[in-house]
């Protein structure tokens, strides 16, 4: 049987390195071919997991704990599919964006390749130290991509991002060192039963450090300070990749650690605390999104808010009845996927609007409705998922989370979710209202190539259809 697991990691590593050798500005075709191949590989892996259950792959043939194991289950397959499914349209989009923009492309493609390699390796890793290496690869690639546009804003945003992401990895690594000190192993499979059997204080400290580091990387409120400048200042294809995928990688690790590795020591109080931070993110992020005057900053603050919903999983699924926990867990995973697709579409649409109008201010959007109907429609569809309107994926996700909150009697999360929904409707409509105003006399719209509009539309459409395909996705998620 052909095994897609190693190739999902090798493919982006290979094309990124070849694109680097080709030189600045080159490698777009290689990237498109490579990501298309990876999408096929991820789909193959998903089918294999549905048919045969979770998989373990022993790199080097040694097996944990001496060697490094890779592992793939339903959740990894969902995240791998999301990553490649978002990256493929964005690869087409990025080619058009940089061609239309004459923006300095330089080493965009190799950096993107290493970014995807890092994410695929992270989703497949079953070893806490190996995860650290993938986090470093991911962080450096993301920082490089933020800085790729040059200029004072992006470079200082990239530096701030670099410091935040390094601090996060540092805290994570400290936790890994403590775990190794206590148990003598870094393999997830070896550690889980040991932690369940006996967990001294050092393990709680390790858990706190690792989770804090990852929360910083996920930009959970109040650690979100680095995200809006980094995502708002980067070129649109980069913002889309970072907001849709990169923060989900560290969130995925928090899920894994909380529900697998540290489940025996995870307390309800800590879960409520995580939920409270999530609620803070939903409210604060939405309020700040509403106050933004620049389109990409608005979309970036919307990411801060949407990340908050993801953290409602923890209070809803920790210490709850199995059915409630399953519903919360599914809702959270669905939210991660729906937000990934919708936010990529939203940033891509925002980039197209900015390319056409030549302005980043929301005030400059008047007339977009008549001149760029497809791109505005994309923004609307993506906005439906962000607001959680049916039949979008965002609706199904928030419905499952609401159901879990009702069933467990935690009404306060329902209040947060409803308030967040209303606030997100307010900031989406703030953009739409401006776009539907008649164009100013002096306004000049640059014609856009079709490849700058269609990839974003497909992503938005996928985020909407996810609501109808939710049962297939949940089926894959549940395959163990």
């Amino acid at each position: 049987m052909f095994d897609p697991i190693p190739w999902l990691i090798l493919s982006p590593l290979i094309w990124a390195t070849l694109a680097f050798v080709q030189g600045p500005g080159r490698g777009g075709r290689l990237a498109v071919a490579g990501v298309a191949l990876q999408l096929a590989l991820a789909a193959t892996l998903a089918q294999q997991i549905i048919a045969g259950g979770a998989r373990v792959y022993a790199v080097g043939g040694w097996g944990a704990p001496l060697g490094i194991d890779l592992a793939a289950d339903g959740l990894s397959a969902v995240m791998l599919l999301l990553t490649q499914a978002v990256a493929l349209p964005l690869a087409f989009y990025a080619r058009a964006y940089f061609a239309a923009h004459a923006a300095p492309l330089r080493y965009f493609w190799p950096l993107t390749g290493y970014l995807l390699a890092a994410m695929n390796a992270l989703f497949l890793s079953a070893d806490v130290f190996n995860i650290y290496v993938t986090l470093e690869l991911l962080g450096l690639a993301a920082v490089g991509l933020v800085a790729v546009a040059g200029g004072a804003g992006p470079v200082s945003a990239a530096m701030r991002y670099l410091l935040a992401t390094l601090l996060g990895s540092g805290a994570y690594l400290l936790g890994v060192a403590l775990l190794y000190g206590v148990y003598g192993s870094v393999s997830l499979a070896a550690l889980a039963p040991l932690i369940a059997a006996d967990a001294p204080t050092a393990v709680s400290l390790a858990a706190a450090l690792m989770l804090l580091g990852l929360m910083l990387k996920t930009a959970l409120f109040p650690f979100h300070f680095w995200l809006p400048p980094a995502h708002g200042n980067a070129p649109a294809p980069v913002s889309a990749l970072l907001s849709a995928l990169v923060i989900k990688a560290s969130f995925y690790l928090i899920l894994r650690l909380w529900f697998d590795l540290f489940a025996p020591i995870a307390s309800v109080t800590a879960a409520q605390f995580l939920g409270a931070l999530g609620a803070g993110a939903v409210i604060w992020g939405s309020l700040l999104a509403l106050r933004q005057t620049h389109l990409k900053m608005l979309v970036a603050y919307s990411t801060v808010a949407q990340v908050g919903y993801l953290f409602l999983i923890f209070p809803l699924a920790t210490g709850a009845a199995a059915e409630v926990a399953a519903s919360a867990w599914q809702g959270g995973a669905l939210q991660a996927v729906a937000h990934g697709l919708a936010k990529a579409a939203m940033f891509a649409a925002a980039g197209a609007m900015i390319a056409a109008t030549g302005r980043d201010e929301i005030a400059g959007l008047a007339g977009v409705a008549t001149r760029l109907p497809l791109t505005l429609f994309t923004f609307v569809l993506a906005g439906m998922t962000i607001m959680g309107l049916p039949p979008s994926g965002g609706f199904s996700a928030k419905w499952l989370l609401l159901g879990a909150a009702l069933a467990s009697g935690q009404w306060w999360w329902i209040v947060v979710m409803l308030a967040g929904g209303l606030l997100s409707a307010a900031y989406v409509f703030k953009v739409l209202r401006q776009a539907f105003l008649p164009a100013e006399e002096a306004a000049h719209f640059k014609p856009l190539p079709r490849t700058l509009e269609w990839p974003a539309f497909l992503l938005a459409l996928a985020s909407l259809l996810l609501g109808l395909w939710a049962s297939e996705m949940l089926n894959l998620l549940g395959a163990a």
Partner: protein, 222 residues
């Protein structure tokens, strides 16, 4: 306000340090004993030194990703748009004394790098250390005015920077025809590890030298 913040940060880090120290003093004996497993499997690893066995064989996959991290660090620096290099493409020529010394030392450093690479199989050494020595030679040559800075690496240099990673990936992928990723067939491990380490030495030397030489000449736009 700033003093208050400083005190808060200081007391937080101090508290973390104390808790860390206290929990480290209290560590139980490890349940898993990896050093013993490494010793037990050392004969199978193709090399006689445990560190090299872990880095290139048992946990070779980590090393593969780490090489990508190093290349990426340099790539991140190259990706920053920079001002066109000014009127000083080369450093001020150093004294003839330093130039002569650099010319004498460089071949010696290459020789040392070769030895350190070879020694890695059975004693402390290997590609990282050998690459660092090579990089040192590169920096020395630049300081002596014999090697220009690398503001924009050409294709040959980029190929050299990438060779180590590409050879590593090629070996790892080829081995999948026999088993899993990076699973050395019995008897071949030593030779394959030497091939990987030799190409890594070259690329790591270039990458580490690049971290210095790329910045030596150009100012990043800010």
């Amino acid at each position: 306000m700033k003093a208050l913040l400083n005190i808060a940060v200081l007391s937080l880090t101090g508290a973390l340090g104390l808790v860390l120290a206290w929990s480290i003093l209290d560590l139980p004996a490890s349940a898993v004993r990896l050093p013993e497993q490494v010793t037990a499997q050392l004969d199978m690893s193709g090399v006689a030194h445990p560190v090299t066995a872990v880095l290139l064989n048992f946990r070779g996959y980590d090393t593969l990703l780490e090489i990508a991290v190093l290349l990426l660090a340099l790539l991140g620096m190259l990706a920053l748009p920079r001002q066109a290099s000014g009127s000083k493409p080369r450093p001020v020529p150093a004294s003839p004394m330093l130039q002569t010394l650099a010319r004498l030392l460089t071949p010696l450093m290459v020789l040392v790098a070769g030895y350190v690479l070879w020694a890695g199989a059975h004693r402390p050494g290997g590609a990282f250390q050998a690459g660092a020595v090579l990089a040192g030679a590169g920096v020395l040559l630049h300081l002596a005015g014999l090697l220009p800075a690398w503001a924009t690496p050409g294709r040959a240099l980029r190929a050299g920077l990438a060779t180590g990673l590409l050879v590593f990936i090629a070996v790892a992928a080829t081995l999948m025809t026999q088993g899993t990723l990076l699973q050395y067939p019995p008897g071949w491990a030593g030779a394959l590890i030497l091939v990987i380490e030799a190409s890594l030495t070259l690329s790591l030397g270039l990458i580490l030298a690049g971290l210095y030489l790329v910045l030596a000449d150009s100012k990043v736009q800010a």
